[in-house]
Structures are given as C-alpha cells and as structure tokens.
C-alpha cells in the first residue's frame, strides 16, 4: 500500500549546511500491516509519521500510496488524498476543547463530502462502537485522559481511513488505559485498517506485526 524510496528530510542550518532528520528511507508497508516505529528521541520517528500522513511537504524522494505518486501531487491533492485515506491519533489527544465529544467526532466529517444525515449516522455509530454515547455532550476537559484518547481514536477512524497513523498514542495514559487503546488498535488492524504507530514502549510495539528502528534519521 505504501512505498517510500530514498526519502530524505532536512532543514537548512545556514551557510549552505543542512541538518538531515531522515536519510535515504526505503520502506514498504503492505495493506493490513501493523508497523511500530521505534528509536531514541530525535531519530526522526514523528517526522516519518508526518511524511506518511502528508502533513509534511518539505521532503525529497518518492512516496507511492496505493500506486498514487504522492511526490508528484500538489499540496491540495495531497490534502484530498490524506482526508480520504489517512486517520491520525496524537499523543496529546488534540481534541478541540470547545467542542463536545459529538462535535469533535463530527469535525473531520464536516470537512468531507458527507450529507448531514450521513454525518449523524456515522457519529452515532462511532459513539456506539466506542461505548461513549453517554459522553457525547461532554467537553474534553470533562473526560479522563483515556476517554479523551478513545475519542481521539474514534475521530481518527470515523471517516474509515485505510491508514491509521498514531504518534505515541498511549504516551500520556496510565498502563491500563494504554492497554485498552492498544487492544483497540489490534482489533482495528484485524478489521483491515493498516496501522503505523510511533512508540517508545516495547510492550506497545509488540502489538504490531513488525518493528522498524530509526536512529539519527536512518533505518537500522
């Protein structure tokens, strides 16, 4: 599903010098895969995730998503592809503080071509599926960390993405809440969602099917 070839990401340091965050990344990820990206801080894990999620446009190399040459797409086309195919789970949950749980789930749908009725049905499904119907009118500050991340995951998959990217999804949760989220990822993967997660935790990485180690921007 995903093929990266010779991907590099660098930042100018001045006087013509560059600082490389990612070097010569070649990576294939098949549909249905569950990949854990590990490595020390500053290894380039999150950068790789943002490139896969098409948030970052400043890289070089070739990136194919389901045979679509992402590297040849314009920013607007990449955004469309991302909206249709990719869901994102953040370490900080990144829920919108001034929207209720229901509205947070509805937000990604409101930016896509869904009718009002379809959106209501999809949000109701997600609330049901993640067993948070009772929380739908609460604001994020009224939820525990685990509940917020549950909403974050529900929001990431509500538009049925093929690829789910997760950046330290349990980083801010205590262990039992973390396990719940990881179990949820496993189930989603079993349902056919391709998952790439960045994690520092060996235990969380073990939920995946394979591990990629990054060090100083290189795959090792």
């Amino acid at each position: 599903m995903i093929r990266l070839h010779n991907i590099e990401r660098s930042y100018p340091l001045g006087r013509g010098q560059m600082f490389y965050v990612l070097r010569d990344i070649d990576l294939d990820i098949a549909a249905g895969d569950f990949v854990s990206v590990m490595g020390p801080s500053g290894a380039g894990k999150s950068t790789l995730l943002h490139i896969l999620g098409m948030h970052d446009h400043g890289w070089t190399g070739e990136y194919f998503f389901d045979e679509t040459a992402v590297h040849l797409l314009k920013a607007k086309e990449r955004a469309t592809l991302r909206n249709e195919q990719v869901g994102f789970v953040f370490q900080q949950y990144h829920l919108l503080d001034d929207l209720t749980v229901y509205e947070n789930l509805d937000i990604p749908l409101s930016y896509r071509h869904y009718s009002k009725g379809e959106r209501a049905a999809l949000v109701a499904d997600a609330l049901d599926r993640f067993q948070i119907v009772g929380k739908k009118d609460l604001y994020p500050r009224q939820l525990s960390g685990g509940q917020q991340q549950l909403v974050g995951v529900a929001r990431a998959i509500i538009a049925s993405p093929k690829l789910l990217l997760a950046d330290e999804p349990t980083g801010n949760l205590h262990s039992s809440q973390g396990e719940e989220i990881m179990e949820l990822f496993r189930r989603l993967n079993e349902e056919g969602v391709t998952i790439v997660q960045v994690t520092h935790s060996e235990k969380n990485a073990s939920y995946g099917k394979r591990i990629i180690q990054l060090r100083d921007g290189w795959i090792v």
């Binding site: 943002h50 999620g53 948030h55 970052d56 607007k76 955004a79 991302r82 909206n83 994102f88 953040f90 900080q92 990144h94 919108l96 001034d98 929207l99 509205e103 509805d106 937000i107 990604p108 409101s110 930016y111 896509r112 929001r155 538009a159």
Partner: protein, 771 residues
C-alpha cells in the same frame, strides 16, 4: 456553516472581555456611521415627499454685480414668467405669513403660506380630506387648506371639517381640504394653514407691489424631457422680455437661476455633513483596525486549533470562514448595539441643532438605514476579519500541532501588520482630533464673538397685526407705541421696544439705497442694504451704543420727515471722511426713485445676520415710517426674562384681547440657536474624537509616532473640507496641530508606561512557571 456560527458564538462567550471590548469598539464606529447615514438619508437621499421631486426647481433672482443671491420674485415678474415660459408644465409661488386664528378657543398665532392655486397640484400633494384649490378661487375666495396636524390638534379630527369656517386675521375662511403634514425642510416648522391670495401683501401698497417689491418664492415643474440646463438656457430670454416690458421695476435687472428642489433645501448643510461623514468614516476605520488588531492577536493564539483542524481535513477556506464568521458575529452584534446608539444620536440631533437642520421630529427607522447598518456590520466583519483569518490560516501545521497548548507568538509579518494598523489608527485619530479641536476652537471663538449688542435679560416675541384691523402704517404705529408704553409701565421692565426682525433670528429685510447727491443709480441697479424698523427704545434695550446724533423719538412718526440711523460701518462706507449727520439717502422703490431720508444718528455695528460675518451696511428706520404687519416686541428686564411674557400678555389684553404672542424666547436663546449647525458638527465630532482617543492610546510608541507623522500630512490634505466650518482659524493652525499631536503622544506614552511598569514588576520565576 451553522456549526461554525455556533462555534463562533461559543468562542465569544468564552472570551467575554475580548468580546465586549471588540463589540463596544465597533458599536461606536457603526453607531456613528448609522446615525450620520440616517441623517443624510433623511436630509439628502429620501427626497422630498412630492411627486417626481427631481423635476421640481426653485427659481431665484440674482444680481451678481451687487453680490445678491437667492432673491425672491415680485408679482409682475411672477406673472411675466408664468405666462411667458415654455419649459415648465406649471410654475407657482408662495410666501409665508403669520395669521391670528380666532374662533377656536384662545386666539392663537399660526404660521401659514399664501400660495397660488396650482401650488399643491404642481408639487403633487393631494389632500387627505377635501380638495386642493381651484384656479377660479385664486385672489377671489376666502378658502383655506389646513395640515393634518392642525386638523387633529385644533379641530379635534373633526370628520365634518370640510366647509367649516375659521377666522384668520378676522376674515372668515372656509376650509376646503386637509393636507398631509408637510416637510419642514420645504415649508419651515409649524406651517399649518394655506390661503390662496398670493398677490396681495399687507406690507406693501399696490404701487410698491407693481414696482418689483420681491417677496414670493417661485417654483416650477420641468416639462417631461426638459433638463435643468435646457430650462436654465431659456431664462435670459424671459429676463430680457421682462426688462423690456417692466423697465421701472426694482427686479428687472436681476438674472434668474434655477436650483433643484433637493439642493435648495439641503445646499448649505452639505459641508457640515461631508465633514461628519469623513469623521465617522475615520471613526469606523479606527474601530475596525483596533478590533482587527485584537483579532490578529486572538487568532494567532489559536494556531494549534487551526493546525488541528487542517490535520483533520480543513482547508484554508474552511479556516478563514470560521474566523471571518467569528469577526462577523462581533460586528453584527456591534451593529445591533450601534443601531441603538444611532437612534439615540439621531434623536439628540434636532435638540442640538435647533432649527438649523430641517429634520422632522421623532425617531424613525427606515429600511434603508437598517439595510445600511446590516451591510456596514457585515462589511466591517469581513474587512477586519479577513486579514487576521488569512494570516492565521497560514500557520505551519506540524509546528502548530507540536505547540500543544502553549501560547504562541505572532510572526514578524503579523507584528509589522499590527504596527501598521496602530500607525493608521493614530494618523486617523490625529486628523479627527485636530478637526475636533479646530471646530471646538471655532465654536468657542464664535460663542465669544462680540455681537455688538447685549442679549442677556432680554425677552422677545412676535406679534402679527391682521390687515383688517391694522390696515395702514398709522394704525400699526399706534398699536406698537401703545404696546411699548403699556409694557414699559410694567414693574421690572427697564426698556421695551419693537423691531421688525430680531438680530440673529434668521429674519431680515433689505432695501435698495443710494446717496441723493451725485447721480444716483436707477432703483433697480442700487445695492440692497439690511434695514431694520425699530421703535425709540430699541438701542437702549439691546445696549447698542449711540456714537453720534440722536436716537429716534416719538416725533419721528409716519407724517414727520423721513429719518434714518446708520451703523458705524455704514457711515464709514457711505460717507468716508464726512460727517454723515444731516446727509440724505434714498430708500426703497416708492415713486420709482425711492424716498429721501435724513441721517440723524450713528450707532455701533451689530452682527445681526450671522454671528460669523460683519454687516457692511445696516440701516435703522423708525417703525412708524417703515412698518409691516409683523413685528417683535423686545423687553429688557431686571427680572427673569421669561417673566416678561406675562407682562406683555397683560399689556396686549388691555389693547387687543385677540392678539396672540408668537414664538416667545429669550434673546440669549435666539443667539445660541444661531450656532445650532456648528454646535451639531462640533458636538458630534468632539464626541467621536473623545471616544477614538480612548481606543487608540493603548498602543506602543513607535507606531504612534509614525501615525502622528502621517496624520499631520493627512490634515494638510483634508483641511479644505473643514474650512467652511471654521471661524477665524486655519485648518493648518500650527499651534493647534502641535497641541493635538503632543496631547496624543503624551496620552500614548502614559498608556505605554503603565503596562510596561506592570510587566517589569512581574516575578520572572512566576512567568516561567506559567509557560
């Protein structure tokens, strides 16, 4: 869209301090603009409530070589134009008069118009009851039209009013119709009755009337397809034929000028409203840039939210829409508050401006004003929201997501933009404050202007003498003398006198004059001089100093030798390096050459027409020798001047019980009212400037100084708009500009120092912890 709107309101509720500052700031700008638009709409845009008002014109006489403008028509000239013109479907005339109304309770003085029979048909005004005048009634029948206000208040909305008789100046007049209330901009305030005898005037004999005594206002309705320019081009032919057929008339040398009806009623108000429109435009721009600045700060602080929304699928358009909706919500709420503010201002304006602005009473809200406010609010919301929204939507997505909830600082571009906004605000404020300071300075100078007379402790009121009971100068003289004697004998009265028109009341008359020696010009080429008919106590009542000769006495009667007193300027102008006493002057048009009067005195100059202008020429004539059917009684009293009303009333009761008092007022009030329009401009501009000052001063100093520089440049560019409003002060007055700039800079400096001092007093550890 609805979700975004809901979110926008939620965000405003979450930040009540920001929301209230932004809303009140904009409400000030929108309110000021709505108020001025509402006034402009009423005065200039709505048009007169006549049929096809753009085709109605006023026809004035003009004698440019003698600097005479907007001169009225005489009877022979009107007839000549009415019968000889080809460009109007009809022309009509009217002239105002006071009438004593009897038979409806207490006798009352009412204002009315003497009109030609076709007058209301020409305007396209139809009675709500009865009918308009018929041509055959003109100069023949004692019939009248009354206004709806008259019908309701004085006749109790009598459904059988048609055919009812009322007594006007003692003449039984049959009411034939009730007109809808008429625009005060056209007929003046309080005009209630109309009669159809336009070609007779109790103030002039038939001989005078036919010699070109000009007193009628002439209007015409352009024929379909005829433009003003085409109509104007036909005037010279009419002027020539009138001159040829009536060479003896005083007005045969005048040219004719057409003025559109709309321009006629609003022409002299335009400079004031242009000034106000520019001012409120500046106020709105200042308010907008102020709120845009706040929005920029607010939106910059929400880059995490923007980044997150974009990560979830929002494009820049979505983000911009969200923020613009938020700013539009602010502006629409501000618009609603601004509308209330505008209603209050509009209600206040007639009270400030007095009779100087012809606005109908009561608060009215027209659709046009509502639409204007709504559009202005939305445009304001867009204008101030677009840039901050667009700027914020450029946020770096990954950086935004990384930033978590930490406060983010604005980009260098945003800093530059914000500093630019502040400079623009200061520049506009500088212009506004300087303009307000100049107007205020003008107003103070004008208020302190020496009038040449003392208005304190003086009371004045009008009295109309019905021609039936007081048909000639002798009877009018007897009445006035008796009244003065009766009032003079009342306790507390220092001096009582009469005058045909009180100084600075807006009423005055002019007479052709010439020296008798040398070769006097023909009457119709003589200059016109301001002429006041007075009783002997007039100069003492107003404390006008007698500089030479004598005052009038009771011996200067209708049958005595004609005499005149000159103002000091007049004496210098007409008799330079000569003693004017004993010299003779020709006055008026009687006998085709005017009547000879001897100069018996010289008095101090008086600003009697306009406070801002000196009178080059002003004559005083004894009331018995130059009387008209309307005059003012003035009373100087050591008591409260209002108490004079009851004394005059009592005196009138002893002479003629059916004689009402019209428009009683203190002279102080009349003088103050003459400043009404200036007070309006100065008052509104001053109020706006004061509020703007509060908005602007809380800025950094650099942009303030840049703004001051631009402001000074702008004042030199826009000063000419103010010139007409100023008195004895230049729009580029260096002292005032320096004071304004210094004042603004000091205010801004203080405003900078207070937050700076507060910032330096913060514990750094505390500050780091909060990060």
């Amino acid at each position: 869209m609805m979700a975004d709107l809901k979110y926008a309101f939620r965000m405003l509720l979450k930040a009540p301090a920001f929301a209230s500052i932004a809303i009140l700031t904009l409400a000030l700008g929108i309110g000021a603009n709505t108020a001025i638009f509402s006034l402009i709409h009423d005065l200039f845009l709505r048009g007169l409530p006549f049929k096809d008002p753009s085709r109605i014109v006023r026809i004035y006489g003009e004698a440019k070589e003698r600097d005479l403008k907007q001169l009225p028509f005489s009877v022979p000239k009107f007839w000549h134009y009415r019968d000889g013109q080809t460009v109007f479907s009809s022309i009509a005339a009217d002239w105002g008069n006071g009438y004593i109304l009897t038979g409806l309770g207490e006798p009352a003085q009412v204002l009315g118009e003497n009109v030609t029979a076709n007058y209301f048909d020409l305007l396209g005004i139809h009675p709500i009851l009865g009918r308009n005048f018929l041509q055959q009634e003109e100069m023949r029948d004692d019939v009248g039209l009354v206004t709806e206000n008259f019908w309701r208040k004085r006749l109790g909305s009598d459904p059988g009013v048609i055919g009812r008789s009322i007594a006007l100046n003692g003449v039984a007049t049959t009411i034939i119709g009730v007109l809808p209330d008429l625009p005060i901009s056209w007929f003046g305030r309080d005009t209630e009755i109309f009669i159809v005898k336009p070609f007779e005037n109790a103030n002039a004999t038939r001989d005078r009337l036919m010699r070109g005594y000009s007193f009628m206002r002439c209007i015409g309705r352009l024929k379909p397809g005829i433009t003003m320019q085409q109509a104007q081009s036909t005037m010279p032919a009419l002027e020539q034929s009138y001159r040829a057929q009536h060479p003896e008339t005083a007005d045969c040398t005048w040219t004719s000028v057409l003025v559109s009806a709309t321009e006629d009623v609003t022409g002299d108000l335009r400079p004031a409203f242009v000034t106000l429109l520019i001012a409120v435009g500046a106020v709105l721009m200042i308010a907008c840039s102020n709120v845009a600045n706040l929005l920029l700060v607010r939106f910059s602080g929400r880059r995490r939210e923007i980044a997150l929304r974009m990560a979830l699928g929002a494009n820049r358009r979505n983000v911009v829409r969200l923020f613009v909706l938020e700013s539009a919500s602010v502006s629409v709420i501000a618009g609603i508050i601004g509308l209330c503010l505008a209603l209050w201002i509009v209600d206040l304006v007639p009270k400030i401006a007095g009779d100087n602005v012809p606005l109908e009473g009561g608060i009215r809200l027209h659709w046009a004003v509502l639409v204007f406010t709504l559009l202005l609010s939305l445009l304001t919301g867009l204008a101030m929201g677009c840039y901050p929204a667009w700027q914020s939507s450029r946020a770096d997505l990954i950086e935004g997501l990384k930033e978590s909830n930490r406060t983010m600082s604005a980009s260098r571009g945003q800093h530059r933009f914000r500093r630019g906004l502040v400079s623009a605000q200061v520049a506009l404020s500088m212009v506004l404050l300087a303009a307000a300071a100049m107007l205020a300075s003008s107003f103070v100078r004008l208020s302190n202007q020496e009038t040449g007379f003392r208005s304190d402790h003086v009371w004045a009121a009008g009295i109309g003498l019905p021609a039936g009971r007081y048909p000639d100068p002798a009877s009018r003289a007897r009445f006035a003398q008796r009244l003065v004697e009766e009032v003079q004998a009342s306790p507390g009265v220092e001096v009582a006198a009469t005058v045909d028109a009180v100084p600075l009341s807006g009423n005055y008359s002019q007479t052709p004059y010439a020296r008798t020696d040398g070769n006097p010009l023909p009457v119709n080429q003589r200059p016109l001089g301001l002429t006041r008919s007075i009783s002997p106590g007039y100069f003492r009542a107003l404390r006008i100093p007698l500089l030479a000769g004598r005052e009038f006495t009771e011996r200067d009667g209708a049958d005595g030798p004609l005499v005149v007193i000159l103002s000091s300027s007049t004496a210098k102008r007409l008799f330079p390096n000569e003693n004017p006493l004993g010299k003779q002057l020709l006055f008026g048009v009687d006998n085709g050459n005017g009547l000879v009067a001897e100069v018996v005195g010289v008095v101090g100059d008086v600003r009697s027409r306009e406070l801002a202008k000196t009178n080059d020429v002003e004559f005083y004539r004894p009331w018995p020798q130059r009387s008209v059917s309307f005059f003012n009684v003035i009373v100087r009293t050591s008591m409260n001047p209002e108490a004079a009303a009851s004394m005059v009333r009592a005196a009138l009761d002893r002479i003629d019980k059916e004689m009402p008092i019209l428009q009683p007022n203190t002279l102080d009030t009349i003088v103050a009212q003459s400043l009404g329009q200036r007070r309006l401009t100065m008052g509104l501009l001053g109020a706006f400037a004061e509020d703007v000052l509060r908005l602007v001063v809380r800025q950094g100093m650099d942009p303030v100084l840049i703004g001051l520089g631009f402001g000074l440049v702008a004042i030199f560019g826009t000063g000419r708009f103010l010139t007409a409003q100023l008195y004895q002060i230049s729009p580029h007055n260096p002292m005032l500009l320096a004071l304004t700039a210094t004042g603004l800079a000091i205010a801004a400096l203080l405003a900078c120092l207070i937050p700076a001092r507060r910032a330096t007093s913060i514990d750094p550890i505390q500050a780091l912890r909060s990060e």
